[in-house]
């Protein structure tokens, strides 16, 4: 396997995640998309670490996984709170930012 293959996989994964974030109406779906994008980053980091023989990329990956867990926990908590207050978890209905 060459580096390009890993990077292609990561790029595809990132684009799939971004597509999910931009198009999903369900808030939970958006969170899933973000997960995919972060994992694409992880793949990149690991691939470069392997290729360059530098472990710092892998160390970063461990950090990223930790942060991802926290982010998901926080994100789900926010979704639950929003659902409690607004009785909906559909992104279209959450337009408080409108000018």
């Amino acid at each position: 396997m060459t580096l390009q293959a890993y990077l292609t996989l990561a790029a595809l994964l990132f684009c799939i995640g971004l597509f999910g974030v931009l198009t999903r109406r369900n808030t939970i779906g958006i969170l899933l998309g973000i997960e995919l994008m972060l994992n694409a980053v992880n793949i990149n980091l690991v691939a470069f670490a392997r290729c360059l023989g530098d472990v710092s990329g892998m160390v970063f990956t461990v950090f990223t996984i930790c942060i991802t867990v926290v982010e998901v926990a926080l994100g789900l908590a926010l979704v639950i709170l929003i659902f409690r207050i607004r009785r909906t978890a559909v992104a279209d209905h959450l337009d408080l930012l409108r000018g």
Binding site: L18, V21, L22, I30, A91, D95, L97, R98, G99
Partner: protein, 625 residues
């Protein structure tokens, strides 16, 4: 020697301090009488300091105390301070004295005013005294100009003291505008002089003038502009129209500002800068001609007025013309002497007229009559003032007026000399016309010449009596001063600047007595009917009644030229300058409203924008170039 400078500063700052205290401590100002007393005490202190400063001066030696004010790269652009010499401190005494007496007198004259507005009056009075003294002591043109504008402001405020009366408000605005027209030229003249010499300082310009004509050659336009400023302030033709209207203010104000001090600022300016005007004889000649013409014009106007204050106002214009004529003839000292004596006796006349108005409740001399018996004190002091003004020997105005006549004759201004002699005759006539009608005529007589004199006592005149002591005391002080000056000048002759011809004194006295005699014949004995007299001089009387149409001309110019010009400029401002801005702001609003629509509030939309932006950036960075 330095003491004179210090004392002059104290005299100057005392009323300024009173102004600050009264201006800042509002409860004190609104309390009325305490505010008045504070102002009076400070002005008394100022008077004492002024007298001490004058006594400390040394002849032919000026004391300068300067503080740097506007520093520039090489030296100082201008400074503030005092220039105390025998002349400026003498003028300082006149200002302080009349200011003090007027403030005391006002206590009686304005006794019925509500406390708050009485306090306001004394704030203005203090500010005026401060500004006028700053003007008198100014060592350079900048300080002089600033104080010049300040006294103009005080004049405006005090003319419009009874601002609820439309005439007073209008007169205040008129005075402000007309003097401002002159001031604009004055400012231009000062700046032109500065660009020519590089200094505002009197002493430095004086040295330049002493050093020879080259430095100051061809400054005719500059001195003429400076003269226009002085003409506006000193009510010279054609700027004289504001002064009679200024009589709408309280009478003590007229005495202080529009007779004794502020209106003489122009004369004082020309006297101080006489060395400058000597460089431009053609401008000096114009000053003399205009002065003499003003004197004659105003004297004729005074003859037809029925308002006692307006008679005095035109008389002031006329006397200012005299002073200007003397300066124009090249003998500024004579003009300055007349300024000082005139300040004393004209203030006296105005204050006496104020006492009469206070008692009678009317300005119309035909509504008075027979006041000599009811108001003997006022009558005596008024006659003293009148004799001084008419130029009767041993009264204050005699020597100074004769000096002026001699100055114009020796100065080679023969025609202005003739005008001034005629004006002197008219002066004696119109002043004694007032005396005979108001003080000696039958009480509340029907208009002169109507045939039956004892038409009946007016209501208010029956109660007319001398004013309270607070008003009569200043009158007596001024009257005594007018006598003392007159006698003093008669006994100790001044060193004459010139050799006056021997026939001058008899001529001056004869002319004055002739005027008095004519007034006596017409209004005292009624040997000549005033109607016949007015028929005889109908051609000029009609014109004088209409003030020679000068006010109408000014009104026409104001309405047609200035107002329509302003309307045009206003149109440009409203529809072009403002219009462009309004269109721009409307566009901004519309564009903002359109742009607002793209803010959907959907986080996904924003994210989409960010992603698109990043993508575009990447494409742009990688684009083969």
């Amino acid at each position: 020697m330095a003491a004179s400078g210090f004392l002059a500063i104290w005299a100057w700052l005392a009323p300024g301090l009173a102004f600050l205290i009264l201006g800042l401590v509002v409860p004190l100002r609104r309390s009325g009488r305490p505010a008045a007393w504070l102002s009076i005490v400070f002005s008394l202190g100022s008077l004492a300091a002024a007298v001490a400063a004058w006594r400390a001066t040394v002849p032919d030696m000026a004391r300068r105390m300067l503080w740097e004010w506007i520093p520039v790269e090489d030296g100082v652009l201008t400074s503030v301070g005092v220039l105390a010499d025998a002349d400026s401190t003498l003028m300082l005494i006149l200002v302080a004295l009349v200011s003090f007496l007027v403030q005391v007198y006002s206590l009686g004259y304005l006794a019925d005013e509500p406390p708050a507005s009485l306090g306001r009056y004394y704030v203005y009075q203090s500010l005026f005294a401060f500004s006028m003294m700053g003007l008198v002591l100014a060592p350079n043109f900048v300080q002089l100009f600033i104080c010049w504008e300040l006294v103009g402001l005080c004049s405006y405020l005090l003319i419009g003291y009874w601002y609820r009366r439309p005439e007073a408000a209008r007169a205040a605005v008129k005075a402000f505008w007309v003097t401002k027209a002159g001031d604009a030229f004055f400012l231009i003249g000062i700046v032109m002089l500065w660009s020519r010499t590089g200094t505002f300082d009197f002493s430095e310009i004086f040295e330049l003038a002493q050093g020879g004509g080259e430095a100051l050659a061809g400054i005719g336009l500059i001195t003429f502009f400076i003269y226009l400023g002085a003409a506006g302030k000193s009510a010279q033709f054609p700027f004289h129209v504001w002064l009679p209207d200024a009589m709408e203010g309280p009478t003590p104000v007229s005495a202080l500002i529009h007779a004794a001090t502020m209106v003489t600022a122009g004369v004082y300016l020309l006297y101080r800068t006489a060395f400058l005007f000597e460089q431009t004889p053609e401008v000096l000649a114009a000053v003399g001609w205009i002065g003499a013409f003003t004197a004659l014009l105003a004297a004729t106007l005074a003859c037809v007025q029925t308002d006692i204050k307006r008679v005095l106002a035109y008389s002031t214009v006329s006397q200012l013309g005299y002073m200007m004529a003397a300066i124009g003839a090249g003998f500024a000292g004579a003009g300055f002497l007349h300024l000082l004596t005139h300040g004393v006796f004209k203030a006296l006349l105005f204050l006496a007229a104020g006492a009469v108005i206070h008692a009678v409740g009317s300005n119309d001399i035909f509504a008075m009559g027979g006041l000599a018996r009811r108001m003997p004190q006022t009558f005596i002091v008024f006659v003293i003032g009148t004799l001084s003004l008419a130029g009767i020997p041993f009264f204050a105005g005699f020597v100074s007026k004769e000096e002026i006549l001699g100055a114009t004759w020796v100065g080679g201004l023969a025609v202005p000399f003739g005008m001034l002699v005629l004006a002197a005759f008219l002066t004696a006539f119109y002043m004694f016309r007032v005396v005979f009608i108001a003080f000696l005529g039958a009480p509340a007589a029907a208009p002169a010449g109507a045939g039956h004199h004892a038409a009946g006592h007016g209501h208010r005149e029956a109660h007319a009596h001398d004013a309270p002591a607070v008003m009569t005391l200043p009158l007596w002080i001024l009257a005594a001063l007018a006598m003392v000056i007159g006698l003093g000048l008669a006994i100790w002759h001044l060193e004459p600047e010139f050799e006056a011809p021997g026939w001058l004194t008899p001529l001056a006295v004869a002319v004055a007595l002739g005027g008095i005699a004519l007034a006596w014949l017409v209004y005292g004995l009624r040997a000549i009917s005033p109607d016949r007299l007015s028929e005889r001089f109908a051609w000029i009387g009609e014109a004088a009644m209409e003030r020679f149409w000068l006010d109408d001309l000014f009104a026409l110019v104001y309405r047609r030229v200035i107002l329509s010009g302003s309307a045009g400029i206003g149109w440009v401002d409203r529809y072009i300058v403002d219009g462009i801005l309004n269109v721009l702001s409307a566009w901004t609003l519309t564009a903002g409203d359109r742009l607002r629509r793209i803010q959907t509030g959907q986080a996904q939309d924003y994210l989409y924008g960010i992603a698109l932006g990043v993508l575009l950036l990447m494409v742009w960075m990688r684009w083969p170039r």
